[in-house]
């Protein structure tokens, strides 16, 4: 139960870090923001790519990540649900 919540918190951190960087973020920055090991972050990013929540693209030979429309909606949902828990914290 707790594991799942933690996972969502990590996903939220990753998606938020991408959003805060205006949809142009390198993996090293995500690594710093999400506070994860490289291998662990890679696992999460692969999952998010597979679920079509984020996408990667290249700009001047550098790889960047950005949120997809689905990713933006998902992040919004996480924020709303977190706010609900804060408001109705039993």
């Amino acid at each position: 139960m707790v594991i799942k919540r933690d996972k969502i918190e990590i996903i939220s951190d990753i998606l938020t870090s991408i959003q805060e960087k205006n949809n142009k973020i390198k993996i090293t920055h995500i690594l710093y923001k999400a506070n994860l090991s490289y291998n662990k972050l890679k696992e999460y990013l692969d999952e998010l790519l597979n679920k079509n929540l984020i996408e990667e693209y290249y700009d001047k030979k550098h790889k960047y990540f950005r949120l997809t429309k689905k990713g933006n909606e998902y992040l919004e949902k996480i924020k709303q649900m977190t706010k609900f828990i804060e408001t109705f914290d039993i």
């Binding site: 139960m1 919540r5 969502i8 709303q80 649900m81 609900f84 828990i85 408001t87 039993i90």
Partner: protein, 223 residues
């Protein structure tokens, strides 16, 4: 037995309309709580949803019970045949008793569920014991509605104390106010035995309590 006797004549029926608002808000909280459970897989929000469905159900049964209490008086003239009136009355009495029992039982069970969530009680043995007690109490207080009031007042007030004492909880948690408001409103309804105006005040406090809950829910989903 009905709440009808506690209400001022001019307020009879209006209380039911006000309670429909509380029912809608209860079901809305239950719906979003269940969505939260599905999203984060936090089981306590599943039970929280059940508690609010039961609160809504208790108000629905209260409305039914009140309506039945009023209806026969108005329909008396329509039926002239004695047997028909008798059957009609006894069936309504039966429905009134059932709806009144559902009102008490669902409200007490919802309090119990909230208690189990707050106390983080997981032992099935204890949970079954509490449910049995609730069932027994609901049967025993058929004609002692005031006893039901006292349980609600004390339990909700203790939830309030527990909630504001818990430093882990966010200070803006709207549940503290909900528990306090519910407790105060039932205290006023309890006083309605002395003067029916207190029933009106109790119902108004209950409505404000639920509207505050709705206000907080809307705030949650505002971008």
């Amino acid at each position: 037995m009905s709440f009808y006797i506690y209400s001022p004549d001019w307020f009879s029926g209006i209380d039911s309309i006000l309670e429909i608002i509380s029912i809608i808000i209860s079901f809305l909280i239950a719906y979003y709580s269940y969505k939260t459970y599905k999203f984060f897989n936090l089981k306590k929000y599943k039970y929280f949803a059940v508690a609010f469905i039961l609160i809504g159900l208790s108000f629905i049964s209260k409305i039914i019970s009140n309506l039945i209490f009023i209806v026969p008086k108005k329909r008396e003239i329509t039926f002239s045949f004695y047997q028909l009136i008798y059957t009609y009355y006894s069936q309504l009495d039966y429905i009134e008793d059932i709806s009144f029992f559902i009102h008490k039982f669902s409200l007490l069970i919802s309090l119990l569920i909230l208690y189990l969530i707050i106390m983080n009680e997981k032992k099935m043995q204890n949970i079954l014991m509490f449910i049995s007690y609730t069932l027994i109490i609901s049967f025993l207080i058929t004609n002692y509605l005031l006893f039901n009031f006292v349980i609600v007042i004390i339990t909700m007030f203790l939830f309030f104390i527990n909630h504001i004492k818990d430093k882990k909880k966010k200070k803006n948690s709207s549940l503290s106010l909900f528990f306090l408001g519910f407790s105060i409103s039932y205290f006023f309804i309890f006083l309605a035995l002395e003067n029916t105006i207190f029933y009106f005040l109790g119902e108004m406090i209950l409505l404000i309590t639920f509207i505050n809950l709705l206000f907080n829910l809307i705030k949650t989903f505002k971008k």
